[in-house]
């Protein structure tokens, strides 16, 4: 755009005008150049300082942000781990009632069965083909002075039929003795089919001096015993009762010693 002006001016007033124009041109150019370089420098300077500061600052900022990032990440990971730990502890506490509920619902474990036995006794049918011999065993603790023995060595029952058996206990001493008993069934797997309706175990039984009593056990074998393949070869079940002395504040004696 300047050119046509310059050409006109040069045409009109050649020398001075030309120099003036050239000067202005130069000045202009210089000015523009200068402004441009200034502009450039300004742009560059902050750039440079920016990169430098970014270099230092940015390196600082980078490391800082990285550190912050890492810190944040660590914090979140730690929070997750802590939450998982607390969750596991809570789950282990909650597992006890949950497992009990599950056992009651599914009937597994034998300990938590509730209520099904009463109706079963009424409606069960004896499996007459399967005869099982029940042998009886009586034990007592070494310091227990009762005489305790079964009144029959064995009895033949069939699953699904209620049976009665007797033990006899005698107190030969001159003082009343209270005993408490527990029982055991061998083989262990058959024990889950051995249902006692009523017996004399787990409760304190008091015998006066020189007293003799009959202790009955009323039980039945679950009819499902016949259907269990694991029980196919089981023909003998042994019921074993053990009596212990029950006394307030008793110090358990060393096995093998007995007082008289």
């Amino acid at each position: 755009m300047l050119l046509p002006l310059l050409v006109r001016q040069s045409l009109c007033c050649p020398h001075v005008q030309l120099t003036r124009c050239v000067r202005t041109l130069r000045c202009d150019a210089a000015r523009t150049l200068r402004s441009q370089t200034e502009h450039f420098l300004q742009r560059r300077l902050p750039l440079r300082s920016h990169t430098q500061s970014r270099g230092i600052k940015s390196r600082n900022r980078k490391s800082k942000s990285q550190e912050e990032d890492w810190k944040n990440k660590n914090k979140t990971v730690l929070t997750y781990i802590a939450a998982a730990g607390v969750g596991m502890i809570g789950l282990s506490y909650a597992a006890v009632p949950l497992y009990r509920l599950y056992c009651q619902a599914s009937g597994l474990g034998g300990m938590a069965v509730a209520g099904h036995d009463a109706e079963q006794v009424e409606t069960m049918e004896p499996v007459k083909e399967r005869v099982i011999k029940i042998t009886f065993n009586a034990d007592r603790h070494a310091s227990m002075q009762w005489n305790f023995r079964p009144q029959q060595t064995e009895i033949f029952v069939v699953p699904g039929e209620t049976a009665l058996a007797f033990y006899r206990a005698r107190n030969p001493t001159d003082k009343a003795i209270t005993g408490i008993s527990t029982y055991n069934v061998v083989p262990f797997d058959a024990g889950q089919y051995f249902n006692k309706i009523q017996c004399f175990c787990f409760e304190e039984q008091r015998l006066n001096p020189h007293e003799e009593v009959d202790m009955p056990v009323f039980f039945y074998i679950d009819p499902e015993f016949d259907e269990d393949p694991r029980m196919a070869r089981v023909d003998t079940i042994t019921l074993s009762y053990t009596f212990f002395e029950a006394k307030e504040g008793q110090k358990l004696p060393v096995p093998g010693y007995s007082y008289n």
Binding site: V121, C201, R206, V213
Partner: protein
């Protein structure tokens, strides 16, 4: 007992009886019935199925003398004995 060191198999867990514990017969009120029952067992080579009538009588005696909570005999598995049965025990149950 359950102290066998086989952790794989289930160990025995004693269970409480369904109806609790029999009160002790201190006065021998049902001793006669028990003797009848034991006599029956000895005569029948300890076959429980043949002596169910006697066991029913013993439990009835216990209930009458308040040595056992009263319950209908069907609930104790004697429903075939409560109704007049044609025969008390049927089938050969000897091993």
């Amino acid at each position: 007992m359950s102290t066998a060191m086989n952790f794989g198999s289930k160990s025995f867990r004693p269970r409480a009886p369904d109806k609790g514990s029999f009160p002790l017969d201190h006065f021998g009120e049902c001793k006669a019935f028990k003797e009848t029952f034991m006599k029956c067992l000895r005569e029948n080579s300890f076959d429980n199925s043949k002596c169910r009538l006697q066991s029913k009588d013993y439990l009835q005696c216990r209930m009458d003398n308040q040595l056992m909570t009263k319950e209908p005999l069907e609930k104790l598995g004697f429903k075939d004995l409560v109704d007049p049965p044609p025969s008390q025990a049927d089938g050969d149950t000897k091993p």
